[in-house]
């Protein structure tokens, strides 16, 4: 496949064959070689062939082979002539990250790190098949699906300020619970407040470096501050919604009148009945995920109160921000000089809105939207801010994390004989986990270098570094 280098951070796949537009991948000289060897570029080109695509089919620097759409892919579609695709969002609808920061520094907690790790592990349900402590009645479940974070806070599990520091205020208003199958509802009943497994985690960290002091001040971050990061999504409910609608759209694919290069690209016209139904069901799953992360934050705050024998005012653990990285949004963007509503798919990509944008939380409107980029287990994470360049080039989008380079099988092979938890402990990072294979599969070597990924988006100008965080405690399912 032809790939043309535009500059040190941008490569383009020229429009050929069935493609309706060109593709653009953000990367660097070193990483692009690995990207070329994967199927990911083919997938960027496949997405470019979908009807109604507006602008290029995009790949972020953490791009890797997914199924259908690549992970790290962004694509926007015209509301009238374009499609919506569950595969362009991902199975884990609104998988995302939230970062909170406490009024604590390392000396305040370092004598009790083991206790903190143990207590988080004991009190936050994680791992395959774990169930939450909050069992939902059907009536309450529908409220969660319609209201998201707001419902959880209204039950006393959080603060009002948490809501305004969540993307979309933790709620997509078009959510329609009647679009969910009985199976999706059933799977969601007992999982609210659970972490999940795989690459989901809760991480206690420390602000290691500030790159932009003014932005860090605006976000409430200071060097040496203790932070808490939560990476989780919509659990089984979200997976089932995606699964259900892929099957529905697959059955309807003959109606579409065009050939799908990959069945996993099953889609429907945005304004079709199936398209609307999916968008409204997806919104339910998104709201469920926000409610989930809100409840997880609340439980984590309680753990801190207990382990350090302090109250909420002294802990002062504020939610900095919560971002989604698997979602489809109907957003207004300027295309060829004109404002236009488009449906932006971000699959393993984060929104990156600049200062002044009306959808950026009021507290941050003069700075730009906070962007949270978690490293993989045991490596640093980053806080960035949104930029005008992202609006010009990527429909206000940026990367989401490190992206895998090793398959799980290769990771396990490479880790044979190594005690990953010991290697991390040697670096001063405590790990607690449940899954037999999780640690080896999730080891740092299995992922791209997060700093390199972040340098690409920063260098390309689609988001700007604000701070770097280092992990102290990691809890995984």
């Amino acid at each position: 496949m032809e790939l043309i280098k535009i500059d040190s951070h941008r490569w383009e796949i020229p429009k050929t064959g069935d493609m309706n537009t060109f593709g653009r991948v953000y990367s660097n000289e070193r990483m692009i070689h690995a990207v070329k060897q994967e199927e990911a570029l083919r997938q960027v080109a496949n997405v470019a062939s979908l009807p109604g695509i507006v602008g290029p089919s995009l790949g972020m620097p953490d791009i890797h082979w997914g199924y259908g759409f690549p992970i790290g892919g962004v694509a926007a579609f015209d509301m009238d002539s374009g499609i919506i695709s569950p595969g362009g969002v991902g199975y884990d609808i609104n998988c995302g990250v939230r970062l909170s920061a406490a009024a604590l520094a390392l000396p305040d907690i370092e004598n009790k790190l083991e206790d903190l790790a143990d207590s988080l592990f004991r009190n936050i349900p994680c791992g395959v098949g774990s169930t939450g402590t909050l069992k939902l009645s059907s009536k309450d479940q529908k409220k969660v699906l319609r209201e998201g974070s707001k419902w959880v806070v209204a039950q006393g599990f959080g603060e009002d300020a948490d809501i305004s520091h969540t993307e979309d205020n933790g709620c997509m208003p078009n959510a329609e619970p009647s679009e969910l199958s009985g199976r999706a509802l059933e799977r969601g009943k007992n999982q609210l407040g659970t972490l999940g497994s795989g690459n989901h985690f809760i991480e206690v960290g420390i602000v290691d470096t500030i790159f932009n002091q003014a932005a860090a001040d605006g976000y409430g971050l200071f060097e040496g501050q203790i932070t808490l990061m939560i990476h989780s999504g919509s659990r089984g409910l979200g997976h089932q919604v995606c699964d259900d609608f892929l099957a529905i759209m697959n059955r309807g694919s003959k109606k579409l009148g065009f050939h799908l290069p990959d069945r996993q690209l099953a889609c429907a016209m945005i304004k079709s009945e199936e398209g609307e139904r999916y968008f409204n069901a997806m919104a339910c799953a998104a709201n469920y995920a926000w409610a989930n992360r809100q409840l997880l934050l609340h439980r984590a705050r309680e753990v801190f109160y207990h382990v350090f024998s302090i109250g909420p005012r002294d802990l002062d653990m504020k939610l900095v921000y919560d971002v989604c990285h698997n979602i489809a949004k109907k957003e207004e963007h300027v295309v060829d000089g004109k404002k236009r509503l488009v449906c932006v798919h971000r699959k393993g990509a984060t929104r990156s809105f600049p200062a002044g944008h009306p959808l950026v939380s009021k507290d941050y409107r003069s700075i730009g939207q906070p962007i949270l980029i978690p490293g993989d287990m045991g490596t640093e994470s980053y806080v960035l801010r949104g930029t005008p360049k992202a609006m010009e080039e990527t429909f206000g989008s940026t990367c989401h994390g490190a992206g895998r380079v090793l398959s799980r099988k290769a990771a396990k092979k490479s880790s044979k004989g190594r005690a990953i938890y010991r290697e991390l402990a040697d670096k001063g990072i405590l790990v607690r986990w449940t899954g037999r294979t999780t640690l080896a599969e999730e080891m740092p070597d299995a992922y791209k270098d997060i700093s390199e990924v972040v340098e690409v988006v920063h260098g390309a100008g689609i988001s700007e570094k604000v701070a770097k965080l280092k992990p102290l405690v990691v809890v995984k399912g």
Binding site: Y67, V128, G196, L246, R263, R408
Partner: protein
């Protein structure tokens, strides 16, 4: 287990199975899926249920079949253990399945499988041998 192979895939998990005929192929595909979740040698079936699956071609039928087997685990904590496909065409199958109910004391769950995907799904017959490939989201 030797009745299936795992395909190396950066983000997800793929399996390849083979069989002498379609029923054996589909049965093995389901057991391979279960073996990705837990060690099938530790399972002892009890409860039985009949399922009927449809698809618009063999590939679609395979994916829908495996989606159902996965849902029975993810949604109802049941591991399909003994599988007898008693009726099958190119677009439909009916099977009687004996399940093992999940017992955390006995059954170690190896991993979460979020979904069976359509990506690169394939059912082919080469000479007298059937083979299938499926990629799962983990």
């Amino acid at each position: 287990m030797s009745f299936y192979r795992i395909i190396d895939h950066t983000a997800d998990l793929g399996i390849i199975v083979e069989g002498q005929n379609r029923r054996e192929l589909f049965k093995r595909a389901a057991l391979a899926l279960i073996d990705l979740l837990t060690d099938i040698r530790q399972l002892s079936p009890g409860y039985t249920e009949t399922v009927t699956i449809k698809g618009h071609d063999l590939q679609d039928l395979l994916i829908n079949w495996l989606r159902e087997v996965l849902y029975l685990w993810n949604g109802r904590n049941l591991f399909a253990t003994d599988i007898h496909i008693y009726e099958m065409s190119g677009t439909t199958l009916s099977a009687r399945i004996a399940f093992t109910a999940y017992n955390p004391e006995r059954h170690k769950v190896k991993r979460e499988i979020k979904a069976v995907t359509y990506h690169q799904a394939e059912v082919v017959k080469t000479n007298d041998q059937w083979s299938a490939r499926v990629i799962c989201d983990v």
